[in-house]
Amino acid sequence: MKVKHITEIAQALLISRWRQTLVAAIGVAFSISLFIALLGFMEGLNRLLDGLVLNRTPHIRLYNDVQISPIQPIDMEESYMDYHNFVSSLKPSNTRKGILNADQITKNLINDKRVLGIAPKITTQVFYNLGSVNLNGVLSGVDVDQEARLFHFQDYIIDGNYYDLKNTPNSIILGKGAADKMLAKVGDIINITNIGGEIFSLKVVGYFQSGIAEIDKIQSFVSLATSRKLLNESGSYMSDIQIKLHNLNDAPALAKEYEELFELNAEDIQTANAQFETGSSVRSIISYAVGITLLIVSGFGIYNILNMLIYEKMDTIAILKATGFAGIDVKKIFISIALTIGISGALAGALFGFVFCLLIDMIPFVTASLPTVTTYPIDYNILYYIIAIVFAVVTTFFAGWFPAVKASRVDPVVIIRGK
């Protein structure tokens, strides 16, 4: 029995109840489009919120922590070695804050296949001079290119251009809060004082906004070279090495490895932000559950309509069987009806889902923490469309299967005799 002929008969049956068929297909289309819109929106939000943490945080941060030596002189004295020694008011010795042998370490890291990229960083304390008043500030010296490539630096610059930091010597990107206080505009020259008390003049090339007011009041950015100048340090000085990995989940293991290898402190992102993943996965699960429920409900709609169709078309089934159609042929006819409803509904639903996503994408959404985001975030992942369509086709297949089996078991004698 050719597929073409099966579909021809199925089509005739479909046309006979085209209104109900349309309603069923609309049901599928509706649930598919909602499924896609819901997941696209939810995942878009998830990515946005994860991005707040993930984009700005290095997977591993290498630094030289200020800490008290665990072995004190008294522990090395032979006569006290077997005792438990208490020493109070310990202070750390004046070790350097920079990373020793930084050039060699960065070279090793760049050659490591697991590492996506590294961005050196110098953090230092400064004062912003505002007439006779000095404001506290934290200055980060960054490698502009790497910062932009790995940590979306440009997304947080709300005025000016981030690459001016590299191109203009002695330039600074001020935190929005600090700039407001100092009434500094882009292009102005401001004065800052370093820890040693020396005054430097820096040109403002942009504003930075993280969305957290406390940070924006004190945090500013300069280039690596400028920050080294401020600290009177040599050309290879850096206080932190930020590492971004290919695979986020490798971070804890690699952090431990680097800690031993380079004899530095290493902090991985999971330790730094233990909770961020939980929220995302719970939100994803909820939206999948709601979406799949919608699809199953539309499956019941198809089941109902096919059942009705079978009761109405008993005569047709009887004559098909009388003229030599086997049960399996009848089953194929009804399953192809179900699949027609499912596939056409799924395709229309995917299209409408995409339109819904476009609409949501146009709704304004302004948040201080993400200066580059102006509308609701949508994730246009093709995967949601594939999941939705596959699931819709599978659901309608099963919704059609049971009525189809019922139809295939219709005894033509009972129907014809009943007349």
């Binding site: 002929h5 021809e8 005569d315 003229t323 086997a326 042929d329 033509p412």
Partner: protein, 223 residues
Amino acid sequence: MEGEKVLEAKSIYKSFGTVDVLKDVSFSINKGEFVSVIGKSGCGKSTLLYILSTMDTDYRGDLLIDNESMNGKKEKELALIRNHKIGFVFQFHYLLNELTTLKNVMIPGFKAAKFSDVELEENAMKLLKTLGIEKLAHRMAHQLSGGEKQRVAIARAMINDPLILMCDEPTGNLDNKNTDMVFEIFNELATTFNKTLLVVTHDLSFANKTKRIIEMNDGRVVK
């Protein structure tokens, strides 16, 4: 070949619960015969037809179609035998309203898949022409009159060139004019085209015009 057995019933018994409907029914039909089965309402003639048509398999005895026993055949095999060797005309036409006349006639041919679609359509048109309704080929089935529908049903029964045409009260729903017309068609099929026909009817005037009458009473063949 005249005299060749097309269908043979060998002592067929059938009962619904404790009520025996058919008792020891045996007869045979040769190729080219035009046979009518008559009897009172409830004598089991329709039941017999459903058994002979292989649709009802719940009976004792043996049924041979084209010298082949139907005992122990699977549903699928029986469906194929119905498709290839038996044509049906019922009291009600059972046409698919959403298809054209031509498509309705072609449906059993789809299953048989002996011909390509083009050849099948030619055959269907030829049949419709023979029955004088070729003008209706592209009309939808629900637009036809009762007599026209029955003629389409006959064309549908003939499309796979069956060994035997089985009819269950084919004129039960028709007026006299259409009844005469249907008889003329059957008669022509039997005489001109040498077809075998088995017609169950309670219309005695119709039956009297056929070559052979099988009369049933109370589940037995009387004559």
